[in-house]
Structure formats: structure tokens, C-alpha cells
Amino acid sequence: MAKPARISDAALMKQVAGGDMPALGELVRRHQAKVLALAIRTLGREDLAEDVAQDVFVRVYKAAPKYTPDARFTTWLYRITLNRCMDVLRRNKRQTVSLDKVADVAGASGKTDDVVRSETAGRVRKTVDALPDRQRLAVILHRYQDLSHHEIAETTGWSRSAVESLLVRAYANLRKALADLG
């Protein structure tokens, strides 16, 4: 038997605008993992990230009557997520460390695989965290949220050329700091 066609995000938004709560539930189920991951990587704190992610979907619900599908739904969704994350970051000043310090954290002889894996992940996280804000957001959206540089420009409102420059510089910085992992 043929699988029923998957209803589009835009169509679900229309249903949400009409007060259809199961449609909102479907949107949450589809996108919660990506929204939450974006918030976790941007904020660096899971408790804050979960609160932000829930708030994002409440805003989606409230905005549904006025929603027009001009761009991909996820572009709009991630823009709301980033804006909320920026609000939170402004309230809780992000603490960053320099790339040099991050690079010094290497070295894990005699440790179990899980510990090494966890330490490596922590080092990568700190290295990304140490990037200038816009480079950091560009890399998070490009590497982890699966957005092309065109889509990053749409999501952030930055020019395409700015996004390209940010990505090139960010990856160059990361290459220096993570050279021994590559």
C-alpha cells in the first residue's frame, strides 16, 4: 500500500492558524530535535535551550494566522530560534575562551574511549564557542543545521558575500585550532 503523502510544513501552519492543535503537534515532532540542537549549540546550556525551544514553538503557534510561506519553513523557524537565543545571550553574557587556550586542552593518554570521545567533543565545542559571534553562528548553521550559505543569508539577514566571508574565516580558524583532530 502506498504511503500517504507527507503534508507540507506550510499546510500544517494553515491548519495551526485554524486552531488545529494536532497540526502544531506534528510541527513540533518534525522540528524539535533540530530546534533544540540549534539552541543547545548556540546557548551552551541545555536547560536554557529547552526553555527557548518550547518558547519558539509557542511563537510559531501565535504567528500562524499571519504566516506566509515566502521561504522555507525551517529558515523562518531557525530565525525565530536564533532571535530568542540572542535575547537570552544578551541577558546571560556568554563566557568565551581564546582559541589558543582551547588548543592546549588536547592530550588524553591512558583514558577510555568514552572519556576521550567526550573530551574531544568538549574541545570541539569550546573551539566553536571561542569564535567571534557571527562566525560561530554561521558555522553552527552550516555544519550542524544543514543550511547552505544562501539559506544562512536568508535566516540571518546577512548578505551572501558576508556569509561566505564569515564561513571561510571561521573554517580557517577552526582548521588551525583542530588540526590535530583532522
Binding site: 524539535q32 509557542v58 511563537r59 525565530i80 532571535n83 555544519r143 550559505h149 561566505e164 583532522g182
Partner: protein, 164 residues
């Protein structure tokens, strides 16, 4: 095509698997024929793979109960008053704000007319004025969704940062 036609962005999108087939083939052809392109691609692949070690698995989370609870709270707040009472409440709120502004302005004018009052008393009146101003700012802060371009505000532009 000269290998200089292949930009780092092309290589990054190649690694991400987001290039159209013709561009993908062009990158592969250049990487096969050019040592420098191959080296750039290898360096970026190393960084790409290293970044992949920062895993965030949020697939087991279920945000829906929390979202529905918040939505329900929002709806309850809106529907608790019948619409005609909501209109009355809105008008009453506007009157209250107007009265508060009037009182604040009146106190300010009075304080200006009595310059000989003690400093402490004057300061207290000024503090209240500040509170009124902030409150009005909050009311007038527009966008209920918070969909302002906060990513690009309060700081340097992306282009400026690029130049840093």
C-alpha cells in the same frame, strides 16, 4: 575551468553534499587534477570531520507537552474574559496609563516650580518619572512576536566583523 574557479565555499558545500551534480563533478575533476585544490579539500575535510565529533543528540526529547501547556496558558489568558469585557478592560487600561502619565507629568511640573525643596524629595520624584518612562517604553516596544532582527542589531554588522 581554472582551479581558481573553485572557491572554499564550493569545497565546503561539496563536503556538505549540497552542490548540484555539475558543480560537484567540476570540484572532483579539479581536485583530481590539481595538487593545491586537493590539499585545500583535504584540509577542509579534516576540519569538517573534526566538527562532527561535537554531537548533540536531542532526538529523545519531547517538547510537545511543555509547548501545549504554554499554549494553553496563553489561550486561557486570552479567552478568560468575554470579548466585550476585553474591550472594556483595554479601554480601562488605556485610561490608567493616561492617568499615570498625567500624574507623573504633574509631579514633574510641580517639582520644577519648587526648586528650594530638599534634594532627596526631588530625587524621589525623578525616580518615579524614570519608572513611568520605562513602563511606557515597554508598552510601546511593538513586536509581540519578538521577531526583530536581533541577530544583526547591537553591534557590528557581519561585513564589519569580516573585516576584523
Amino acid at each position: 575551468m581554472d582551479h581558481r574557479d573553485i572557491t572554499d565555499i564550493d569545497l565546503l558545500e561539496y563536503l556538505a553534499g549540497r552542490l548540484p551534480p555539475d558543480r560537484r563533478a567540476a570540484v572532483e575533476a579539479r581536485a583530481a587534477g590539481s595538487e593545491s585544490v586537493r590539499r585545500r579539500l583535504d584540509e577542509l575535510r579534516g576540519t569538517w570531520d573534526a566538527l562532527g565529533r561535537w554531537e548533540v543528540d536531542a532526538s529523545d526529547r519531547d517538547l510537545l507537552p511543555g509547548v501545549l501547556a504554554r499554549v494553553e496558558r496563553e489561550r486561557t489568558l486570552v479567552v478568560r474574559l468575554p470579548s466585550r469585557w476585553r474591550a472594556v478592560a483595554r479601554v480601562a487600561a488605556m485610561w490608567l496609563v493616561a492617568v499615570a502619565v498625567g500624574v507623573g507629568a504633574g509631579r514633574y511640573v510641580v517639582s520644577q516650580r519648587r526648586p528650594t525643596e530638599q534634594d532627596g524629595a526631588t530625587a524621589a520624584v525623578e525616580d518615579e518619572d524614570v519608572v513611568q518612562a520605562l513602563y511606557l517604553d515597554a508598552i510601546g516596544s511593538g513586536d509581540a512576536l519578538g521577531l526583530v532582527q536581533s541577530v544583526t542589531e547591537n553591534g557590528t554588522s557581519a561585513d564589519e566583523e569580516v573585516d576584523q
